[in-house]
Each structure stands twice: as C-alpha cells, then as structure tokens.
Amino acid sequence: MILSEDRLQDLLDKSLAELPPGTEWAVALEGSIAEGFGNPSSDIDFLLVGRFDDDPPTMPSLLFVDGRRVEIRTRSLRQLADQLRAVEEGAERPGRLSEDLLNRCQRVLHSHPLRGHALVEEVKAMLPVARFRRIAADWWAHRARQSLRHATALLCLGESDEAVDWTRAALVQSVKSWAAGLGETYLEPKWLSMQLDRAGRVDIRDRYWALEAAALQPAGTHTGTGTHTGTGTDAGTDAAQALLTACLDFAEDLGLTDVPRRPERLTVRRAAGVTTWQTGERVHVVRGGREVFALGPDAGAVWRSLVLGRPLPRVLAEAAGTGVTEPGALLAVFLRYGLIRLAWKGGGPVTPSLPLAAPPGPVTPPPSTAQPLLSVRGAAVGGPRAVDLMPVPADRFAAAAMALVWSNVVVENAVEDLTGALQRGQWRVAELTARRAVHAALRALFSAHGVNPLPADSDLVRRMDLLPPATRPIGVRAGELLRCGVDCVKDGDALLGELRFFIDLVRGAVGADSFPLSFDSADTWRATLRLGHDWLRIGAHLGAELPIEEARDLLAGNGAQPHQAL
C-alpha cells in the first residue's frame, strides 16, 4: 500500500474526530489504496461498520484531512449482509446484476481492517473470496460477450469505426473477466495496467496492449466505403474485421465462452411498442406509442424489407435487394433509435454497455425542422435516407393529419356551396360559406404545420403568429376575406375569385400535395378518402382525437354522399 499503517490510523483518528461521538464502529479502508493501487491524489475511503438495527445514512461524508480528500461511508452489518446476499442470489443472471452493488461488495471484501477487525472479518466471511471472483468474472464475461456481439453486428452492417469502438470495449471487458478470475476483481478499469502487471502473465499483458494499440488507430481507418453491404469490401472494413477476429481469439484464449464467431446467430427482433403506418407512399414508424419517425423513400424501402426473427446477414441481404445503397447504415440507424433490437440465438437480447456504464438505450435525434410538417400523404422528410423525428407527440401528429384531411374536404365542399348560393342570389348564405372556406383553409394551413389542437375559428387569423413569417400575407388576405360582404352578382363573383386566389395562396404555402383538389373527380375524391382512412387507422391506434363528429361520419361512411354518386 502506498500509505503506512501508522499514517492510515492517524488519518482515521483525525477523520473520526470530526464525526459525532458515541458510536462504536469497526473501520476498514476500501478502494484503490486498499487494493494496492492509488497515488498521492487518491481519495481515502473509510467504511464504518456498526452492529445495530437502524440503518445509518447512505450518503458518504466528505472530509479534508491533511490535504487529502477523505470519504466516510457508514453501514450496518445487516446492510452489508443484504448486499452480499443480493450479489450471491443475482449471480445466475449477470446481465441484471447492478454494477454499483457488485462494486460495493468488491470494495468491502477487499478492504483493509483498521479497527474492530473481528467485525470486518465477519462481514468478509459472508461471501467467500473464491465465489466472489467467479461472480465478478462472469459479470465481466457477460458484458464482453454483449460488446463482441454488438461489434459483430455493426461490422456486418458496415459501421466499421463503431464496431472497432465496441471491440475495444469488449477487449477491456474480456481481460477484466480473466483478471477477476485470478482475484483482480477491482472494477474500475483505470487500474487495469497495474492489475495486469500484478497478474504475472506477461504474454497476456503484452497481447492485450498490442490489441489496444491496434484499436486506437486513427478514426476513419476502419470506415467502409459507399458500396459496402456487409461482405468486407475495403481496407477499413478488413482492418476492423481483423481486429475483431484477433479480439475474439484473445477472448477465447482467456476462457470466454460463447464467443460470437458467426453473425448468422444475430437475429433482428421486434422492439416493443414500435409500429409501422403507411399513408400514401410515406412510411411512418411510431416508437413507444409516443414518437413518430418519418422515413424517406430509401429508408422506407429498407424498413419495409425487414422481416423480424431472421438472421442479421439475411436481413441485410434482403435490404440490399431493395436497390438502396448502403442499407446497413440505415439498419444501424434503426438499431440506434431503438426501432429494432438484436438478439443472439440462444443468448437473449444483445444489450451492449461500455465498461462501467449503463446500456446506452435508444438514441433520440433532434426533431425535424421541416415546414410545413405534413401533407395528406404523410410527413415531410429531409431526404431519401431520412429517419426524421416529428417534433410533435404521436397522437397530436395523427390528429393534425386527420384535421388536415378533413379541412381539405371542407374547403372544397364550401366552395361548391358558395357557387350554388351565388347562382341562386343567396348573398348571406354566400358570405357564410365563403367564411367557412377561409376558416377551413386556415385550419389546413395550421394543421400542415403541426398545430394541434387548433385555435378557435374566430382566432385563426390572430394566431398566424404561430406560423412561419412567410405565411403572414395569407393571414392578411384571410382577414380581408372574412370581412367581405356580398350584395349583388358583381360582389359575389369578386368574392369567389378572391377566395380561389386565397386557396391558391394556401396551396402555394403548403404544397399541392398537402391540399389536393378532392372534388376534381370521383377518383380524386376516393383517393382523398383512402388517405383519410389511412390516417384514421394510425389515429385509432394512438387514441388521437378526430377533427369533428362530421368527419367521423364522412370517413366512417366511406364517402357515401346523399347527393353525389361516386
């Protein structure tokens, strides 16, 4: 140890002097210094153990004694017994064994008694050292396997650099597992070099550092080319594969079992709560019932080629069969975003985690900034390979899309009504139907930008400030139209002309796709209704609100209209 017994006792005396008097503690030094590592900057970690019923506070006290940071933890005998028992009981499922729990047990088992030796030894006797070595070795082995499987998957997908990083993680985890089996169970990888020196196997140590050096080649060295489909077609991929193979060999030589030699054993699995909904040609993927991803055409084609339960190489080959270049990169995005997951045949889900880190979990990208966000045919996307996260919750997204479809129908219907009213000289009716058309067009405009719920009709013009500045002229024109009166044929014709111009303005702002002419023909009407039903399907799945009861009737009636034959 870097500190003498006398020095430790002195530090302990000074530390205890700062604590409330009255309790009889057994004391042990734990942590890096107790393990035989450490340096002048290392903390002094004292564990105080008491034989009493009440649990002491779990938060450590931080003291500064003689220029050193001293951390004092207090635990009852019962608490420590519970921790050691929990580790023993969880040993069969290393994937579920918490790192913190393992770390706590490791520290106490390898602690150096300073006071009340008998009580400290009583604690240590609760879990034999040999048993703990096995548990720690299995825990690291589990993590190494997961990392190696993940690296294998990434390499298969052509993500060479990422595969190298996970190979490196597996390298550390494999050698930590081996070292733990020899008694070097301290979890913190920071002291790995000293652990390897102490383990006394120069060959293993040198081989580890050689592989570590190979893994640390500059980024990009391992990157695949644009034509890569998982078959190893360039130097970067070959180098990454070579590194992975060398690490697999090393891990196997260290005694790691179930080493992932064959990527065929990786299968693509369903991620809970992920569903696929297509409207028109646009593929939308809903994650956890809360977030919507809109896929560009290439991403959509690769997504649609996915057959769950199949081996990853086969899935990749089928994705390549879509004609989309670099399908592996898209599959890697799906994996990263948690839209799919991987499992190892006979080995459960692949849940990689870096050394001493929790599994990273699904990534959430920044939300899409596309405007307008929506058309009746689906969400806007940033490009063919886009996997864009919608900036609104899934149920709001679906509700906005349904409101858009419905507004589209109402505009066309109101224009028809206006034309009829003008023919009959029904000026007041004409005024009202024109206003109805203006409001519906504004609702479409708001919905296309993802606004939901919508402002009240009377407030739509004022709430144009919610939309991008480019739409302001539409608001001005809408205000004028809403104030228009009709008293004669001339006024009526002018109003109709103005209204059509206004609708064209809205179309120009949101794109014709967002606002097709439903009443052009029976075919376009049916097409609009089909899209309406597509949105109803996703809306029903998400429990989204339908625009209004009338829309429900129309869509539920499949467009059967009393006065118009389809």
Binding site: V274, T276, W303, S305, V307, G309, R537, A556
Partner: protein
C-alpha cells in the same frame, strides 16, 4: 379438466382422423390408452399438427377407409362390424374450405352427419359431434351454447350446412341418442408455438392482407374474430369423448382468443414488412372501386371472409368452463403474434408478393 388417461380403455371411432382437428384428437385418445378406429377418406400417413407421424401411443390405432357421404360411411363389411364395437363416435370429418359449390357442403357436412347419426343410432353409440361456433350466423352480441336456430342468417354456405347438420344432431338427441356437441371457433395454430399444419382458416387472408395485395377491406374496427388453438379444441373434444357422462346433452363452445379488427390492425403494424389493411364500413364498400390489381385477390380470398370482418359476436362458454375447459390464458394479441411469428419463420408470410394471383381455385378456407 380430468386426465383422459384415468378413464377405462374404450374403442372410439373418429371420422376425419387425418384432418387438422381429427388427427390431434386421435393422437390424444391413443396416448390415453384407447383404441381408435381412425376413419379416413384416403390412404396416406396420419400427420399431427407438429408435422410428426401420428402414433398409437399407449393405445391401438386401426385405420379404416370410408366415405361419410355414402350410407354406412361406405365401410366394408369387416369395418362395419368393427365400427359397431365402438364405445364412442367422434365426428370430426367436414369440409371447411370456403367458396366451394353449395352441393359439396350439403353432401359432406349435412348428408355426412345423417350417415354418422344412422350408424350411431343403430347401436345407440354416444356421439361427439364437432360443429362450429359460427352456426350463430350473422349476428352481433353474445352467442350462447344452448342456442341454435334463432332464425339467424348464415354467413355463408359452410355455416348454413353446419347449422343444418347440428339441427339433425339435436333432433337425434331428442330421439334418444346420447350426444355432445363441441363448437370450435376459428381453429388456428398451437397455443404455445403458433405452429400450424394446415394453412387454412384465416391464414390465406393474412397472407393477402399483409402483402398489401388487398389494402381496403369491408369491416368494422370492433368486429371480433375468435381464434382458438388447435390443441385447445382437440383437448375439449377428447375430454368430451372420454368424460362423456359429464358432457352428455351439452353443447360446448371451444373458443379461444377474441381479437377485434382493431387488435389485428395494431398487431400487424408491429411487423415492418407487413401492410396493414384499412377497414371501411361494409355498407359503403364497393369491390368495383378497388384498384384493378387488388380485385382478383379480394374476390378469391378476402371476400370469402367478409362475414367475419363485420360480426361483433362473442361466444359465451359457460358450459365448457363448467365442464373444466378453462378460458384461454393469454390475450388475443400475444396469440396472434405467435401465429404470425411462426408463419414468418416458415416463410408463409413475409414480403415478395407474387406478380399475379397464383391460384384460380379459392384457397381461402375457414374454421371447422
């Protein structure tokens, strides 16, 4: 439900022993140590749902060839003498495909029952008749086990024939024949694995829909399909035969997992490669309005199932439960996932739709 092994060894005549349900019933009776007279229409291996050859187990398996559309089941003299020794008759044989000519249902499902009843009545042999829960016809609400002819309109010629057949069975019971009727709903893959030997019933419909060959279907989101695992049906039929004294005079619903079209839609959406059909109200659906490429698939496969997409019927199973047939343990959605996963694993479902309809003959077929 008590173990059928505990009952005394019997001789049981099983019609349709090579069929989807019949083979499983035969296997269970054999495993329980009974002698099974397995009536089959044609020679060939008896295969279980798991694809393995059917064996006699602890019992005895005697194959006899016959034809239920003929009087005396078309049995030879020797086989007729053998059949007369039966302690029970389990009538599983039926034509279950949809879209066949009307007279085919009449001959197999109605005349066939008439001939089986004649055989049973001759020796007053207790009969377990396998019917269908869908004798309830086109109706909404709760269908009960003690209901039969309420003036309902059958959903198709198959249902009509099964209603007529069960009516004949009821009449024979009234005349003194000991009878139990078991009514399965839509018989599908094994409960635990989803494994299926015969890709009939709802399977061709699922294939056409998930491949996007038909994208618009007339149906209600709250219409209910009841899918029952084949092993569950076989268990109940076997128990009815072996514990006949407890089942006599009863009609038992062999039902499983209720699944609304909304459930189906949501589960299909969990599979990236699957298309999810849009269900539109039947009153406004027009097959003529379907895109040209969809029409043949609709006419030949999906339309045969139309009644099942509009019925909001649920099957009460009070008698079956009192008999010991416990309700299915898990919900409809997990079970549907098992069925779909199995079909994906075998390649029956998945992408790569054919360029045009492959079969001129309807391959859509349904429940018992």
């Amino acid at each position: 439900m008590s173990d059928p092994i505990t009952s005394d060894p019997m001789t049981v005549l099983v019609t349709g022993a090579s069929g989807f349900v019949g083979a499983e019933v035969t296997a269970r009776l054999g495993a329980a140590g009974h002698t099974v007279l397995a009536l089959v229409h044609r020679n060939g291996d008896l295969v279980r749902n798991n694809g393995r050859r059917l064996t006699a187990g602890r019992g005895t398996l005697i194959r006899i060839t016959g034809d239920i559309t003929r009087p005396g089941l078309g049995l030879s003299d020797d086989d007729r003498r053998l059949a007369a020794t039966a302690d029970r008759i389990v009538h599983c044989a039926a034509v279950t495909d949809f879209g066949l000519p009307k007279d085919r249902y009449e001959r197999v499902n109605v005349e066939g029952v008439r001939h089986v009843l004649a055989l049973a009545s001759a020796g007053r042999t207790p009969l377990v008749h396998v019917s269908t829960a869908y004798v309830c016809g086109e109706r909404d609400g709760i269908a009960r086990e003690d209901e039969l002819d309420l003036g309902q309109r059958p959903g198709n010629d198959y249902e009509k024939s099964k209603l007529a057949a069960e009516t004949l069975v009821r009449k024979a019971a009234a005349d003194g024949l000991p009878v139990t009727v078991v009514r399965p709903s839509i018989v599908t893959g094994a409960a635990r694995t989803g494994r299926i030997r015969d890709l009939k019933t709802i399977y061709p419909v699922l294939r056409v829909l998930t491949r996007g060959l038909v994208r618009t279907v007339p149906g209600h989101h709250d219409a209910v399909l009841d899918l029952v695992p084949v092993d569950r049906v076989a268990d109940l039929v076997t128990a009815a035969a072996t514990r006949f004294q407890d089942a006599e005079g009863r009609t038992l619903h062999a039902v499983g997992h209720e699944l609304t079209l909304r459930d189906m839609s949501d589960v299909l959406a969990e599979y990236p490669s699957f298309h999810v059909p849009r269900f539109v109200p039947p009153s406004a659906f027009s097959a003529e309005a379907l895109p040209g490429r969809e029409r043949p698939y609709y006419d030949r496969v999906v339309s045969l199932y139309d009644p099942y997409f509009r019925r909001r019927v649920r099957f009460d199973a009070t008698h079956a439960e009192a008999f010991g047939h416990r309700p299915a343990p898990s919900g409809g959605r997990p079970y549907l996932r098992r069925l779909l996963d199995h079909c994906l694993a075998t390649g029956y479902l998945g992408p790569s739709p054919p360029k045009k309809p492959a079969a001129a003959r309807p391959d859509g077929s349904t429940h018992r």
